[in-house]
């Protein structure tokens, strides 16, 4: 599912063209609904892609909640980039990031 959605993300990015990129346009919205899952996308100016897969049975999740989750992910990601021991491209092993993601997921489940 995640690989297909990455293709959709790339499609959307190339469709954006030279549009001014601001906070709203970083959020790509619902990429690709399937029977079991909804997939949301978010891309940064540095072309880092965040993909969120949500169970379809979770209908309570609103658009602005997803946006704020992506914003938190983006902020935590920039904190990780500032860790001198982190090499861009590596798997993320940060305790702070894990804590933030877990608490975020607990709020919505």
């Amino acid at each position: 599912t995640v690989h297909t959605s990455l293709d959709v993300v790339d499609e959307k990015i190339s469709a954006m063209g030279k549009a001014l990129v601001d906070q709203r346009e970083l959020y790509l919205g619902l990429l690709y609904p399937t029977e079991d899952y909804k997939v949301y996308g978010y891309v940064t100016n540095s072309k880092v892609k965040f993909v969120m897969v949500v169970d379809s049975s979770n209908t309570a999740l609103r658009d602005n909640e997803i946006r704020s989750m992506f914003r938190k992910l983006h902020n935590s990601y920039t904190d990780i980039m500032c860790n001198p021991f982190y090499n861009p491209g590596d798997r993320i092993h940060s305790r702070a990031f894990d804590t933030m993601v877990n608490s975020m997921m607990m709020q919505v489940c």
């Binding site: 904190d79 500032c82 860790n83 001198p84 021991f85 982190y86 092993h93 702070a96």
Partner: protein
């Protein structure tokens, strides 16, 4: 805005980790580099702060915490845990700008990330005729709630040999 400073220090430490294969060597290098900074920084400090000669170690502690740390790192550590003889004390740092955003990976658990600071303090005090021992006893990077630096007065340096570079 201290982000460039924090990132520079981080780059320095990670480069040392790549150059030397074990944490202990990196710790020694950081201390050495700190020492070389300290013996020079003291001149800048004395010129800018205009403090006179300290009469005792307590005054020294105050000057270090309230003037020096404030001037160079923008923080004011608190002074605690004086030994009965008045020759040892602790500096407690609630936050340490050198370690913003830093998380120590598991394979560097014995690294004393901010060890440069120990060298700086040691070098600077040596230039004002005090031999001290400086070491970290608590570190927020290792899970402690605060960062604690223990400073111990060893002796007054009587003979004014020119500062040797280590």
């Amino acid at each position: 805005n201290s982000e460039l400073f924090t990132l520079t220090y981080g780059a320095l430490v990670t480069q040392l980790c790549k150059d030397y294969e074990n944490d202990d060597d990196v710790n020694k290098q950081l201390d050495k580099m700190g020492y070389n900074i300290g013996v020079r920084l003291i001149e800048d400090f004395l010129a800018r702060s205009n403090v006179g000669r300290c009469h005792d170690f307590r005054e020294t502690a105050d000057v270090i915490a309230k003037i020096a740390f404030k001037m160079y790192l923008g923080i004011t550590p608190s002074i605690t845990n004086w030994s009965p003889g008045g020759d040892e004390f602790s500096l407690i740092l609630e936050n340490n700008p050198l370690v913003d955003f830093v998380e120590l990976p598991d394979n560097h658990s014995t690294l004393i990330y901010s060890n440069l600071l120990c060298g700086v303090l040691r070098g600077a005090l040596e230039m004002v005729q005090m031999a001290v021992d400086v070491k970290f006893v608590q570190d927020t990077l290792k899970g402690d709630s605060v960062t604690e630096i223990r400073m111990k007065f060893i002796r007054r340096i009587e003979d004014n040999l020119p500062a040797g570079e280590e």
